[in-house]
């Protein structure tokens, strides 16, 4: 029997040499006459350990990492002689960073072969759909509502209510749209799930389709994610061949099919209405709401548009029951959140856990502090439009309401850590610049405000009329926050104002320079 070896094909792993390691393993094994079968999985999400190599043993998988090409001979030697190896991490499941997670959505990611429908089914895949088919629309809606699942794109809108609205809308056609246009800095969960467990996305969308009465779904993702696009497309073909997409899916009376659409690089196309415009072949311009996409969405038809992580949570809820999901979490944030730890952090990666973990635990404990070893100064949570949190707020639990109460947001679950060398004026300027570059240009506060924001913060950096310009920036943030059409302009004030509030010392010159400036 040949040896089964698992090497990730995740883009993050490939970036640090996973392909080369896999090839080296294949060649070295051939040279030695050892029969091996290399399974290219998704990533486990422990990125500091990539390329991670796992070996199947009767006791379970044993992990080695990070493995380089040069390590391959010694690794094979160690395996052959059953002797210890410097990179040996022990049983994968016992790695503490993985063990302390609650993997409901990412349970199969890194475990299975993402190209194999059989592997997916062997690991509990399509149990959710089977259950959904036996339940019917109303019962599915009840289950999704009871699970407490909220929009994982950041808005946190209850998925059950959204689906119910679409289900009740009358139309000749309805659509499911999966928002996989992951553009937040420091986020990678969407990409990981598409590369590591694409059938999960398909299953979630299929359940959504039969629930609301849609027969067609679109996955809208980024051109920067070629591996994810390839994985999704391959999985769609496999699902179609396996009878899980197309007409009469899974032997039922339902029809549902999927298509992957690749965006052209605009961040704002992750905003649901401009995503719909882009899907329709137009410029990615935000639509005013109402009408809601649930009533008047893609091509004017009722559309359930959900973040990919929301859809990926669905199969578990159906397979294991709403309660099994809702039992996790705190307050109105139920279930788990795939948190993405990034930036200046020792242990970066995907950490799926129940809501309620504090920011401090995530940064200091799980993330292990900064990579540079310097003190953590600021943490931006929720992408480029999220607030910067100082150490003083590290007791904030990961929860929609708790973050909102502190003028922050959890967004898509991205956490970016900065050490004490950060200049928060530059970060505030960057927030405005990001908005200026990515603004669709429709509404005035975002279109003109972001550019004026950059200019005014630059004046502050140059020391020009600092107090007046600080007041102007605050006024501008007020205009953008309450006046913008969508979250791009509306949330840009979060990083700016949080920087101003929590790191004021960076903006107000010391008394000596103040004198000099005047």
């Amino acid at each position: 029997m040949s040896m089964r070896v698992f090497v990730s094909r995740d883009a993050g792993a490939i970036a640090v040499g996973a392909d080369e390691v896999a090839i080296a393993l294949q060649r070295a094994a051939a040279k030695r006459g050892v029969a091996i079968e290399i399974v290219r999985t998704g990533s486990r999400g422990l990125y500091w350990l990539e390329p991670l190599v796992e070996i199947a043993t009767p006791q379970g998988r044993i992990a080695f990492g990070p493995v380089t090409e040069a390590d391959v001979p010694s690794l094979l030697d160690a395996l052959a002689s059953n002797t210890p190896h410097l990179l040996r991490l022990g049983a994968t499941d016992e790695i503490p960073w993985l063990k302390r997670q609650t993997r409901l959505t990412f349970a199969r990611c890194g475990v299975i072969d993402p190209r194999s429908l059989d592997d997916y089914r062997a690991h509990g895949g399509y149990k959710g759909l089977e259950r959904a088919l036996s339940l019917g629309s109303d019962a599915i809606l009840n289950a999704v509502t009871a699970s407490g699942l909220r929009g994982r794109g950041g808005a946190g809108f209850p998925t059950g209510i959204k689906w119910k609205t679409v289900a009740q809308a009358k139309a000749d056609r309805k659509f499911i749209v999966c928002n996989a246009d992951e553009g937040d800095s420091g986020t990678f969960a969407d990409r990981m799930i598409m590369e590591g467990d694409p059938f999960l996305v398909i299953e979630g969308m299929t359940i959504a389709g039969i629930t609301v009465g849609a027969t067609k779904g679109y996955i809208y993702t980024r051109s920067e994610y070629p591996h994810a696009v390839e994985a999704m497309k391959a999985a769609i073909v496999a699902a179609r061949c396996g009878g899980y997409l197309g007409s009469k899916i899974g032997g039922s009376t339902y029809d549902f099919d999927l298509e992957v659409r690749v965006g052209a690089g605009a961040y704002v196309c992750g905003e649901e209405t401009s995503l719909l415009e882009s899907l329709e072949g137009r410029r990615g311009i935000v639509r005013a709401k109402p009408p809601l996409p649930a009533h008047h969405g893609l091509f004017g038809k009722p559309t359930a548009i959900n973040n990919i992580l929301s859809l990926a949570a669905i199969p578990f809820i159906l397979a294991e029951g709403a309660k099994a999901y809702a039992d996790y979490g705190m307050g109105r944030s139920r279930g788990t959140m795939p948190i993405q730890l990034a930036g200046n952090l020792r242990y970066g990666g995907l950490f799926e856990t129940a809501f309620g973990v504090t920011l401090g635990e995530l940064v200091d404990d799980i993330g292990g502090g900064t990579f540079t070893g310097r003190p953590v100064r600021a943490v931006q949570v929720g992408g480029p439009l999220g607030a910067y949190f100082p150490r003083a707020l590290f007791d904030t639990p990961f929860d929609y309401e708790a973050f909102a109460a502190r003028d922050g947001l959890i967004g898509h679950g991205g956490i970016v850590v900065f050490d004490d060398s950060v200049d928060m004026r530059t970060q505030a300027r960057f927030a405005m610049e990001f908005c200026a570059i990515e603004s669709c240009g429709k509404c005035t506060p975002c279109r003109i405000g972001s550019t004026r924001g950059v200019e005014t913060i630059e004046k502050i950096i140059r020391g020009e009329r600092v107090s007046e310009n600080l007041a102007l920036v605050e006024d501008l943030c007020n205009t953008m926050k309450f006046g913008s059409l969508c979250a791009l302009g509306g949330f840009t004030p979060y990083p700016v104002l949080s920087a101003l509030r929590h790191f004021r010392e960076d903006f107000v010159p010391t008394p000596t320079t103040l004198q000099a400036a005047e």
Binding site: A266, S439, C440, C443, T444, I448, L476, T479, G483, L485
Partner: protein, 961 residues
């Protein structure tokens, strides 16, 4: 009189019947469901600040000025995109809202020039108004940042070039685009899409770089823009501004009047400064156009001031002589003496006249009255003879009225539109825009036309096109009926209830014959039977089906038959008598419906009552105080024939260029040359005037009072906005001529003429200027039964009683192709030019269409060695002319096409004497021709041109030189 400022409600009116009550600023307001909070507030007189919203287009929600607070809801929603809900409590002003709006305005002004005092929009700028409304007092951002305002960085010596700045685009002859003043509200882009349906504009770039762009960063003139003016009207700033406003300044008063171009009858506000027109702005309360316009009505009114306009009466003894300017009295007595002399010499019936479809109802009425009562005969005809006379005949036979059945609003309820032989995108553009809007909402379109017109393919519109061979309308429409009958798609309930059942059965049996099937007729028509069957099914079963047709139906030897066939189709499918359906002739000229209504035909008194009816004649005789001749008079072609025979020697032609517009020009020349007195009453020395002895200068629609009746039977006021430049309105000229001829028509104002029309015409009894002023317009019949007019006809039954099915046998025209003339010529129009071009050729519209071209399919061109732009000789059995070729597959092989807007083209030298069997409407749309390469104008064109130049000499002008 002051400037009419129409209320802008910000968002379109909701059509919902369900009412919703809410509270805005403490006032309880009840509005239809679907109304925006912004509109509801405006209804109550509260104007919420706004810039991107305007009620001609859907809410967009981009400017963020119209934010409001709603009790119990978070945030500050935009009032334009938020619909009313029962019980909402809305506040439009609060500290938070004030701060927000001021913040937004501060941003706007940080990228806008501060040249208000010298700006073209000064006094008419919504940005200026809003800055005032929100109390903006300073712009703290300064003006040194990124901007679109300055060509070079301000405040620096020899400042750097600003790449974001764009120069003014002055390419369009009528308006300018100044990107430096643009606030990117997208109103122009949306107006182009939603109102006009052309989609010529977009926003290029994104974020701060966003700018309005015609096409792919083209100039306005070079883009797909059709210059309808919707964008200019929508623009809240000086970005898109009429050149006339830039030159003259803001208007100070305005007068609502009616466009003098096509039969759509758009209402306009003539915006004036003194007696000078500053601009024409489409009037939102105009029920035909609902605030939209086309390039002609909106901009092409400059002909009224053109240097070639004749302002003094002129006479001459012989047409070889130069003109002599004389006083009105001398002109009248000269004309009267000649006309009376002819009658003395050749008999009472030797003179006649032609009414104008461009003049008012009142003027037309007077001309026919002059002829019937003053000349003492019925030799009156009108240009409807050469356009829609078959409509009058066909629809009165089948339905009992000689007019379209619907109003234009009806199209909003249409599910399937069928266009036959018409190209509204060119000839009735505002209607086309309204139709396209409905098509974009999902209604289906079938186009039956030899040519792939602009209607077949336009943005978001794809029609089912049946490209038939010219001259085969009857075969195609009968084949449609064949499918409807044989596939059991007849609306039997409707037919049994509303129509004569035995006539229907006879008709059904006729159309069901296998020889009328799409398959059997395909060899004649060239139409794919599959497409034809599909079209019939869609029309019969697709919901409300409406047929719109034009001169491609009527101007055939079987024009009347096709009209009848269309009426049969509508009756068989029950598509008559409610909104969204009907049979709708698209009338060509502004008042062609009116001129027909006013008794312009030789056999009919006003209201389509036959001259031979004693009771009717008694009425007129009593009021006119004359004895009327009971015998119908001569039709236009009969007049020409009689002139050549020597029995018809004098004619009074008001506002109509018969030489250019009637078929077989050489025949018309011969007839006019034979006459002893030709009186032309027109703005310009038109082609007919080359053969005239008396020229009476006309007045433009801006210079007189009256009414026009459009294609939907809508009677609308034409209002005088300036004194007649020639000194007399046209109605006064006719009165003067009549008086000189010894027949007094003492009216002091056109309203008195309308009162007489109302007294004598049963369908007009309720019409008066007072009522028109009150209601804006009425659609006839307007009488005791319908005091406010009749938008949709035949609602409870046909006017004639039972709808009448008439069998329509296809008879091929005698004008056939053969070895000598293997191609079929058909004619049409283009958007920027109108009819024979007398008006539009004298405007800047020539930039779009400087000459008529002959469209040839590449296959036919290749065979004859013709390249694009080459001169080609076009020869028919009647004559030959030359023009330049345009190679295009819009026409099918075997078909060539041209427009007839330019007199040099001489398209009617080619057309023949064949005409409609019932009404003599000429067969303009089918002429067998051959084409061959040519070096330039034909001998005829050269001779004609020389004669025209010679004939147009004016004596005093020569002396002055």
């Amino acid at each position: 009189m002051s400037l009419i400022e129409e209320i802008d409600y910000g968002t379109p009116r909701s059509k919902s019947a369900t009412m919703v009550t809410l509270t805005i600023d403490g006032n309880e307001i009840t509005v239809p469901e679907g109304t925006s909070i912004m509109r509801a507030a405006m209804d109550a007189g509260h104007q919420i600040p706004k810039l991107c919203a305007t009620d001609m287009v859907d809410a967009f929600g981009s400017c963020r000025l119209c934010v409001v607070e709603i009790e119990g809801r978070a945030g500050t929603p935009a009032s334009c995109t938020t619909p009313v809900m029962p019980g909402l409590v809305v506040h439009t002003q609060s500290e938070r809202l004030k701060k927000l709006r001021k913040g937004v305005m501060e941003l706007y002004i940080s990228d806008h020039p501060l040249d208000c005092l010298t700006c073209g929009a000064n006094g008419d700028c919504e940005l200026q108004d809003m800055a005032g409304a929100v109390g903006l007092r300073e712009v703290r951002y300064g003006y040194e940042g990124e901007n679109h305002v300055f060509a070079r960085t301000p405040g620096k010596s020899n400042g750097e070039i600003n790449a974001a700045w764009m120069p003014k685009d002055e390419s369009n002859p009528y308006f300018t685009y100044d990107p430096s003043k643009c606030i990117v509200c997208s109103r122009c882009v949306r107006a182009c899409e939603e109102v006009q349906g052309t989609f010529a504009l977009t926003i290029s770039g994104r974020g701060f770089d966003s700018r309005v762009s015609p096409g792919m960063s083209e100039s306005f003139l070079g883009s797909e823009c059709v210059s309808c003016g919707a964008c200019v009207q929508a623009c809240p700033t000086a970005t898109l501004t009429e050149k006339s406003v830039i030159e003259i300044g803001q208007p100070e008063h305005s007068v609502v009047t009616t466009c003098a171009y096509c039969g759509v009858g758009c209402a306009f506000k003539a915006e004036m400064r003194g007696e000078e027109v500053v601009r024409m702005v489409p009037y939102k309360d105009g029920k035909a156009n609902r605030g939209h316009s086309c390039v002609k009505g909106r901009f092409a009114w400059g002909y009224t001031n053109h240097k070639e306009r004749i302002l003094k009466p002129m006479i001459r003894d012989r047409i070889e002589d130069p003109w002599r300017e004389v006083s009105w009295d001398e002109a009248f007595s000269f004309a009267a003496a000649r006309m009376r002399g002819i009658q003395k010499k050749y008999g009472r019936d030797a003179i006649g006249g032609i009414t104008s479809s461009r003049c008012t109802n009142e003027e037309t009425y007077l001309v026919q009255k002059l002829i019937r009562a003053g000349f003492g005969n019925n030799n009156v005809d009108t240009c409807a003879r050469v356009c829609h006379s078959p409509t009058g005949y066909g629809l009165s036979q089948t339905f009992g009225t000689s007019a379209g059945t619907q109003d234009f609003d009806s199209v909003e309820d249409t599910d399937v539109a069928v266009i036959i032989g018409a190209n509204p995108a060119s000839a009735h553009p505002v209607f086309a825009s309204r139709l396209k809007k409905r098509l974009r909402q999902g209604a289906k379109l079938i186009v039956i036309d030899p040519r792939r017109t602009e209607m077949v393919e336009s943005p978001h519109v794809k029609a089912l096109h049946l490209p038939l061979m010219p001259g085969t309308n009857v075969a195609v429409v009968t084949a449609l009926a064949h499918v409807i009958v044989t596939e059991g798609l007849v609306n039997e309930v409707f037919v049994r209830e509303r129509c004569d059942w035995s006539e229907f059965e006879e008709w059904a049996a006729f159309v069901a014959q296998p020889k009328h099937s799409p398959e059997a007729t395909a060899i004649l028509t060239g139409v794919d039977p599959k497409d034809l069957r599909e079209a019939a099914r869609i029309y019969a079963t697709g919901g409300n089906g409406a047929i719109y047709y034009g001169l491609g139906v009527t101007e055939h030897s079987q024009g009347s038959t096709t009209v009848i066939a269309i009426a049969n189709l509508a009756m068989a499918t029950g598509n008559i008598g409610r909104s969204g359906v009907g049979v709708n002739p698209l009338r060509g000229q502004n008042n062609v419906q009116g001129s027909c209504d006013m008794g312009s035909f030789p056999h009919e008194l006003p209201g389509y009552r036959h001259i031979s009816g004693d009771a009717v004649r008694d009425q007129f005789e009593a009021l006119w105080n004359v004895k009327l001749n009971p015998e119908p008079g001569l039709r236009i072609p009969n007049m020409f024939d009689a002139a050549i025979e020597g029995s018809f020697m004098g004619i009074y032609v008001q506002g109509e260029d018969i030489l250019q517009s009637d078929p077989n020009t050489k025949h018309v020349v011969a007839a006019l040359s034979a006459m002893e007195c030709v009186i032309v009453h027109d703005l310009f020395l038109n082609e007919t005037a080359n053969y005239a002895h008396v020229f009476l200068p006309g007045s433009s629609f801006l210079e007189k009072d009256g009414t026009f009746t459009n294609a939907e039977r809508r009677i609308q006021r034409v209002r005088k906005v300036m004194s007649p430049k020639n000194g007399m309105a046209d109605w006064e000229v006719t009165i003067g001529l009549a008086k000189a001829m010894g027949y007094d028509m003492p009216y002091n104002h056109p309203s008195e003429i309308m009162d007489e029309i109302a007294a004598l015409t049963p369908t007009f009894t309720g019409v008066s200027y007072a009522k028109l002023d009150e209601l804006g317009s009425v659609q006839w019949p307007c009488n005791e039964k319908a005091p406010e007019g009749t938008p949709v006809m035949h609602i409870d039954g046909f006017v004639r009683g039972k709808g009448k099915f008439i069998v329509t046998e296809y008879v091929a025209t005698d004008e056939r192709t053969g070895p000598r003339f293997p191609l079929l010529l058909t004619t049409g129009r283009i958007l920027s030019q109108y009819n024979v071009g007398a008006q539009t050729r004298r405007t800047e519209n020539v930039v779009w269409h400087a000459e008529d071209r002959l469209e040839i399919h590449p296959h036919d061109a290749e065979q004859r060695g013709v390249r694009d732009g080459d001169w080609v000789r076009l020869t028919s059995r009647a004559g030959e002319t030359t023009l330049r070729a345009e190679i295009t597959d819009r026409v099918s092989p075997g078909v060539v096409y041209t427009t007839f807007h330019h007199p040099d083209t001489q398209a009617n030298v080619i057309t023949t004497d064949y005409s409609d069997w019932a009404t003599n409407c000429p067969e303009y749309k089918v002429t067998a021709v051959q084409i061959s390469p040519s070096n330039g104008p034909s001998d005829w064109q050269k001779t004609y041109d020389a004669q025209a130049r010679h004939s147009r000499r004016i004596a005093p002008a020569e002396a002055a030189e």
